[in-house]
Symmetry: D2
Subunit: 323 residues, 4 copies
C-alpha cells in the first residue's frame, strides 16, 4: 500500500446519473473507517481548475443516497481541456494535499484523468457513471438500471390505456450511439418493435411489417434517439406508407436522467465505490472499476472506450420478440 | 323512486382515464347492496350496438380499482353516430331489460345519451371521465389528478439532473384545448414558464424573457400540446432568438392517460359513482354528476359543454410565477 | 395594508408533512415580486429561541419543491413552551427586524403563535401542515393527500399478490385520533373493513363478520393506529375467534410522512402560501389560511382545534362499503 | 431435440413474485414462433390435479407483463402432496397431451416436479421465482429485485422526514431464513444497522452501540423478519436499555410481494423463460434455469436447495457500514 495516501479527492463529471450519490456515500463512509480524508471537488474538472473543494463526511451524504443527481455537482469543463487549465488544476490538487483521485463519470472523464497524469502523477481510479451503458470494462454503468426503469414505467402507462384500434405509439428513449436503453425497455414492456442505432435492418423490417398492419390492433414501438431517425421522422415514414394509421409520439428525453436511483444502481455504486477506494489505496492507478460477470474488475483507462456492440443474447431476444 | 329500475347498464366511453375502474366498482358495490343488477356494456356505445353485455359483481372489480384504463373497455363508436346504430342499440337495451344507464366519459359521451333519448326513454346519468378537466358542471374530472401527478413526476426527474448551464427544457403535456394540465403541473414543479392554449400573450412574454436569458442558468418550460405551437416548434422559435442555448424536448404524450389512479381520482370516482346510482334510482335523467366546491351536484347534459376558461386564481398564480 | 411589513419570518413546526417546501417556495416567490424579504427560521420555534435565521430566495427553494420534509427543518421545542423561551424568541425577532410571521404546522404551532402574541405584537398567519387532516377551518391539510397516496400504493401491492385462501391482511395506517387516512386509503383500495378511532361499533361489526369468514377468500382490513387496538392486538382478536385463519400484518408507520408531495399537496401549499402572504401584508393576524369548499378562507386560531368528526358522506361510504 | 414436444404446460406455484408474468410472456411468445402450443395450468399443482387448463397466446400476456402477481394464479396444493393427487395430475397431463412442463416457483415447486417424475416421465424445467433470493443455482431469483426496490422506496420516505432527535426507526422487511432483502435494502438506504437471521452477533453489536446512543441524532435499523427477534421484540429490547429513546416501527409485510416488477426482474424472467423453453425442447429435464455470474446455467433440482449463506462481499459491506 502506498503509505502516503491520506487525502483522496472525489468528483463527478459529465452527464449526471442516478446512483452517483450512493457511490460517493460508500467511498466516504469506507474512507472514514480507515481514517482517510475525502475532499469533494465541486462540479467536476471545473472545481479542480477553480480550487473549489470541500470536506465530505458520511453524515453529509446519507440523506442523499436515495436522490438522483450528484450533490457535489457535475459539469463538462472546456477549461480543463486546455493545458493551461490542467496545470492550474494540478497545482490546486497539490496545494490541497490531495494524494489520489476517484472520479465518477464516462469515457470523457477518464480521458481527462489520463491527460492530467502527464503533469500530476497521483493515483487515479474511475467509476463508470452514465445512463447509456455503452462502456467496455463493465456489464453495467451507474444509472443505466434507473434510466431503464424510468422508461418502462412510462411505457407501462401507455400499455394501460384502452387498447385503441389502429394506433401506433412511438416512444423515443435515450441512447445516441447505443441501443441499450431501447432494447431493455422494449423487451421489458413487450414492445412490438425496437429500433436501435446499432442496426439499420430493424427500420426496414418494421416498415415492411407495418404495410400489413391491421386496424384492429395497436402497437408500441420503442425508438432509440440515435436510431437513423428519431421518433418524429419515423412517424412521418409510417404515415407515408399507411395514411389511415394514427401515430402518437412520446419523447422521454431528460426524465431518464433523473429520479431516485434503483436498488441495483445504489448497490452497484456502493460496491464499485468501496472497491475503488481499496484499490487506489494500494497505489493502483489509471484503471476503471467495473462489474464483469458479477465480479469487480479493474480495466485500464486505455481500454475503456465506448462500446457499440450489443450483447448477443439480447440482440437475439430483440429479433425474436420483434417478429 | 322509479320502482321499475332493477337493472342498470354501465359503460365507459371516449378516451379512458384513471379512476374509471374505481367508479365502476363503487356503482356495482352500492347496487349489490340494493339488489340492483348491473349490466356492463363492453367498449362503450359499440357494445350497445353489438349487444355485448356482461353481468358485473363487486368481486370482479375489486382487483382492478387500483389500475388505470377500464376493465369494460372504451371506444369512440362511429356506428352509434348513425340513427340506424342508435335504433339497434335501443333495441338491445330493451331486450336485455336494462332500465337505466350510467355512463363515464366526456362531453361526446353525454351527447350520445341525449341522442339516444329520442328513441329510448330510460333515465341516464353521466360521470365526467377525462384527463383534460375541461368540462362545465364539475371542478374536477376523473383522471385529471392522476394525469397531473404523472406529469409532475416526470418533470421532477428533469429538476433532479445537474443544473446545467444554458439549457432550456421544454416539456409538452396534454391539453388540446385546455391548459389545465400544463398549469397545474407547471405550478407544482416551479416551472419557469407555462404556455397554454387559452393565452396568446404567454408565448410573446416568454420569448421576450428568453432574449435576456443568461447562460449561467437552466429553465424548465411546460407547454400544453394545444398551445399555438407545441414543444417542437417552440424549440425552433427559441433557437431563432438565441442560437447558443441548448434546448431539450420531452413530449409526455399518452403516458399521462395511464398509470394507477391517485387517491383523489379513486375517491372522486367512488363518490360520483355512488351519487349517480342513488340519483338514477330516483328517476332523475339527463344530468351529469359533478363535484362543485366539494359538493356533489347534478348538471343537465345541455349545460355540460367543454369549458375553455381557466380558474381566475390559477391564472393569476401562473402570471405571478412566470415573472 | 400595514405599510411597515418589509420582512416576514417563515418557519415549519411540529411533524413535517409533504408539501411544506412547495408552500415555502410560493411564499418566497410571491414575496420577492413584492420586494418583501423572507427570513427563514431554522427548526421551528427552536430557531426563534436561538436566533437561527437565514435569508431565503426563490432559487433556494425551486430544487426542493418536489421533495418531502422541509428544507428549513422542523422541531417540537420544549424551550418555547416556557415564558423565558418565548421572551428570548420575541427579542430575537425584534433584533432581526421581522415584522410578521407565517408558520406551517399543526394546532400546537398555532397555540405557540397565540402564546407569542402576548409579548410580541406582530401579525401572524398559519398554514395547516399535518398529514392527519384533523383540523377545523380547512377541508384538507398539507400532506394528507400525499400520506393517503403512500398508503394506497402500499395496499395496492398487497392486492396484487395471488388471492390466497383464508388469509387476512391487516394494514395499520397513521391517525392517532383521526380516521381520515384509514377511511380514504381503505375506500380507495376496496378494503373489506376499515377501523377508525371515531367509531367503536366498527370493530364489533368486523369481528362478527369474521366469525362467518369462509376460507375460500382473502380480506384486506385497514386499521387506524388510534383505533381501540392497533393492528397487532386486532390480529390476536381475530385469531381468538378463528384459529385457522392466517393473519398477516403490515404497519406503514413513518413511511406515510415522507416521500415526494403529490400535485394536490403542492398546489394546496402554493395556494395557501400566496394567500397567507397577501393576508398578512394587510395586517390580518391570528388566523389560519385554509381551503373550505374549494375557497380560501381564514379562520381565527381560537377556532382551529383538532377535529374528530369525520365527514358524514365519507362515514356513510365506509358503512356501505364495509358491509 | 425431442421431436415429440408439441405442447408444454406452464404454471406458477408457491408464493407469487413480481416478474412471473414477464417470464410467462417470454415462454409463450418464443413458443409461438416455434409452433409449440403452451397450455397454462391454473393455480399451480391444484390446476394439475383438477385438469384446470387453458391455452395461452402472447396477446393474453402482453398487457400483464408490467403487473405483479401471476395471471394464471398460484397456490400451495396440499392435494398434490398425496400420491393420489399426483396420480390424478399425471393422468390429466396425459389426457391434455402435455409433453413437458415449465414451472416458476421455489424449492417446494421443484420438489413437486421430482415427485411427479416417478409417475409421469416428461421433461420438466424450473425457473426460480421467489422474492427471498435464497436458492442455490442462481445469483438472483425472480422478484427479489422488485421486493428490494419496494423496501428501499419505503425506507427512503422515512429518511425524508425531519431528522428528529433521539428517534430510532425499526423497519422490518421480509426474509424468514434469509437476510438478502434486509442486506440489500439496508445498504441501499444507508441504514445505521442491519439485522439478519444468518448472524447472531449483529444484535449484540447493535445493542452495545445503542447504549452510547446520543439524543442528537436519529437511526434507521433494518430488521429481517427471520432475525432472532422481529422489529416488535427488538423495539422492547432497545427500550430496556435506553428508556428515553423514541422507537418507531414499520413492518412492510406483504407489500414487498406485489407491485409492478422492475426492469431487472422482467428481463431476468424473459431471459430465463426463453432459455428454459429452448432447453426443455432439447429434452433436458429435472433442472432449474438460473443466472450465475451473468450467464444462464442449468442446475439439477437435487442441488437446488435453500441457500442460507450470504455472499461474502455483501457480508463484509454490512459489517463495514454498520460500524
Amino acid at each position: 500500500m502506498t503509505k502516503t495516501i491520506k487525502n483522496i479527492g472525489v468528483f463527478t463529471s459529465g452527464g449526471d446519473a442516478p446512483g452517483m450519490n450512493a457511490s460517493l456515500y460508500a467511498i466516504i463512509k469506507a474512507a472514514s473507517l480507515k481514517n482517510i480524508t475525502i475532499t469533494g471537488i465541486w462540479q467536476g474538472y471545473d472545481g479542480m481548475v477553480d480550487a473549489s473543494f470541500t470536506h465530505l463526511h458520511p453524515k453529509n451524504l446519507a440523506p442523499h443516497v436515495h436522490q438522483g443527481g450528484t450533490i457535489i455537482k457535475t459539469s463538462r469543463s472546456p477549461r480543463f481541456l486546455t493545458l493551461k487549465g490542467r496545470i492550474k488544476a494540478a497545482k490546486n490538487l497539490k496545494k490541497a494535499k490531495i494524494d489520489a483521485l476517484i472520479a465518477i463519470g464516462g469515457d470523457g472523464t477518464f480521458r481527462g484523468l489520463m491527460a492530467l497524469k502527464e503533469i500530476c502523477d497521483i493515483p487515479t481510479i474511475g467509476i463508470p457513471g452514465t445512463i447509456d451503458n455503452d462502456m467496455m470494462g463493465t456489464d453495467y454503468t451507474l444509472g443505466f438500471d434507473s434510466a431503464v426503469n424510468t422508461a418502462i414505467n412510462a411505457i407501462d402507462n401507455i400499455r394501460d390505456t384502452a387498447e385503441s384500434h389502429n394506433r401506433i405509439f412511438l416512444v423515443e428513449v435515450m441512447g445516441r450511439d447505443s441501443g441499450y436503453i431501447a432494447i431493455n425497455s422494449g423487451l421489458c414492456t413487450a414492445a412490438d418493435g425496437i429500433l436501435i442505432p446499432e442496426s439499420k435492418k430493424d427500420q426496414v423490417l418494421l416498415l415492411n411489417k407495418l404495410q400489413h398492419f391491421k386496424n384492429r390492433e395497436s402497437l408500441i414501438i420503442v425508438v432509440a434517439e440515435g436510431d437513423e431517425t428519431g421518433a418524429i421522422v419515423m412517424a412521418e415514414k409510417i404515415k407515408a406508407i399507411n395514411k389511415k394509421v394514427d401515430v402518437r409520439i412520446t419523447i422521454l428525453g431528460h426524465i431518464q436522467r433523473g429520479g431516485n436511483p434503483t436498488a441495483f444502481d445504489r448497490l452497484l455504486g456502493i460496491r464499485l465505490g468501496v472497491a475503488a477506494l481499496d484499490e487506489v489505496l494500494k497505489g493502483t492507478t489509471n484503471v476503471m472499476a467495473g462489474l464483469l460477470n458479477n465480479k469487480i474488475t479493474f480495466t485500464p483507462f486505455e481500454k475503456v472506450v465506448k462500446q457499440h456492440k450489443v450483447q448477443t443474447e439480447l440482440k437475439e431476444l430483440v429479433e425474436l420478440f420483434s417478429r
